[in-house]
Symmetry: C2
Subunit: 154 residues, 2 copies
DNA sequence: TTAAAACTCTGTAGCAACTCCAAGGTCAAG
DNA sequence: CTTGACCTTGGAGTTGCTACAGAGTTTTAA
C-alpha cells in the first residue's frame, strides 16, 4: 500500500490542496520528495496522501508550518511519549485564546468609536474621524505584541 | 503650528513608531513627504505628528493600511458627509466579529482534540497525532476563506 | 498520425506590514 | 580630528501561499 502512482493533479484533487501548494510543501520539507517518471513528473504514493492530509488538518486548525513540522518530527519518532505533541497543542490553544480576547476588546473599542457618530454630517464634526485623530483612544502605547496580528480582510 | 523641526528620531520617539516604519509609510503615500535639511535629513512638523498619530490609532484598531488610506482620503475632503467613514468602520467591525467567531470555533475544536489524549504514552497510541492524521477532523473541506487567516504566534 | 488540449515542470514575483541589515553620509562633543 | 550617535538609501527576509511565464510531456480526438 504505497504505490498509488498519483500525479500531482491526482493528489491535488484527492486532498483538495492546490498543486502549487503541494510543491511548496515539498520545497519546505514538509512532504518527502516523490519519485519521478521518465518525463520528470512527480509520482506519489499513499504515504504522501496521508502526510498531506495530516498537514492540511493542522493548517485548518490554524497551526503554522513550523508547528506542523514539529508535530511531524514527533510523530516520526516511534515509541516516544507524546508530551511534545501535548505541549505544542496546549501552546497553540493558548495563542488562539489570547487572540480571541484581544479581538473581543478590539470589537468593543470599535463599537465605542462607532457610537461617537451615528448620523451623517460634515466631516469636521465627525466623532469617528476626530476620535481617530486624538492622541489617546482608550489607552495609548500598547505594543502589537508580535503574535497579535491578523484579521486580514482582503 | 507647523514648524516643530523634528528629525525622524524625534518623531519616532514622540509617536512610539519606529523610524523605519515612518519611512515605510512615506513610501506608501500615507505620510506626506517632509522637507529636508541641507544634509538631506527629513524634517517634520506638527501636521506629521498628527497624521502619524491618526495612522497608528487606526493600526492599533487592526485596520489595514488600505483602510487607513481611505479614511485619510475621506478626512481630507472637507464638508463632505462622513458616510464613507461609517461604512468603512462598520465593515471593519464585521470583519473582526467574523474572525472572533471563527477563532472561537477553532478553540473548541482544538480543545476537543486535546481531550483525546490526556496522558503520556507511546506516540502511536496518541489520540492527538491519530486525530490529526484522520481524513476528517470535524467536517473536511471548508475553504480558508481568504480573510480568515491569522493567529500568527511567532 | 498528428495536432490540439490538458497536464506538468522550473523559476520568479507578488501579497501585508513591516523589520533588519549593509554601506555609507552628517553632525555634535571632546 | 576622531569617536559615536544619528541619518541616508537600497535590498533582503518574514508567512503561506498564489499567480504567472515559458517550456516540456502526455493524453485525447480527428
Amino acid at each position: 500500500m504505497v504505490a498509488l502512482n498519483l500525479k500531482i493533479g491526482d493528489l491535488s484533487r484527492r486532498t483538495r490542496c492546490p498543486a502549487q501548494t503541494i510543491r511548496y510543501y515539498e520545497r519546505e520539507g514538509l512532504l518527502p520528495e516523490p519519485t519521478r517518471t521518465a518525463g520528470n513528473y512527480r509520482v506519489y504514493g499513499s504515504e504522501h496522501v496521508e502526510q498531506l492530509a495530516f498537514i492540511r488538518n493542522c493548517r485548518s486548525l490554524d497551526m503554522t508550518l513550523r508547528e506542523v513540522r514539529q508535530l511531524l518530527r514527533v510523530r516520526d519518532i516511534p515509541d516516544e511519549n507524546c508530551d511534545a505533541a501535548h505541549r505544542l497543542l496546549d501552546e497553540h490553544i493558548a495563542h488562539v485564546a489570547t487572540r480571541v480576547a484581544e479581538l473581543q476588546l478590539l470589537e468593543k473599542q470599535l463599537k465605542g468609536l462607532r457610537r461617537q457618530c451615528g448620523t451623517a454630517h460634515a466631516d469636521k464634526e465627525c466623532g469617528i474621524l476626530n476620535g481617530l485623530g486624538r492622541r489617546t483612544l482608550a489607552d495609548a502605547d500598547k505594543k502589537p505584541a508580535a503574535h497579535v496580528r491578523g484579521t486580514h480582510h482582503g
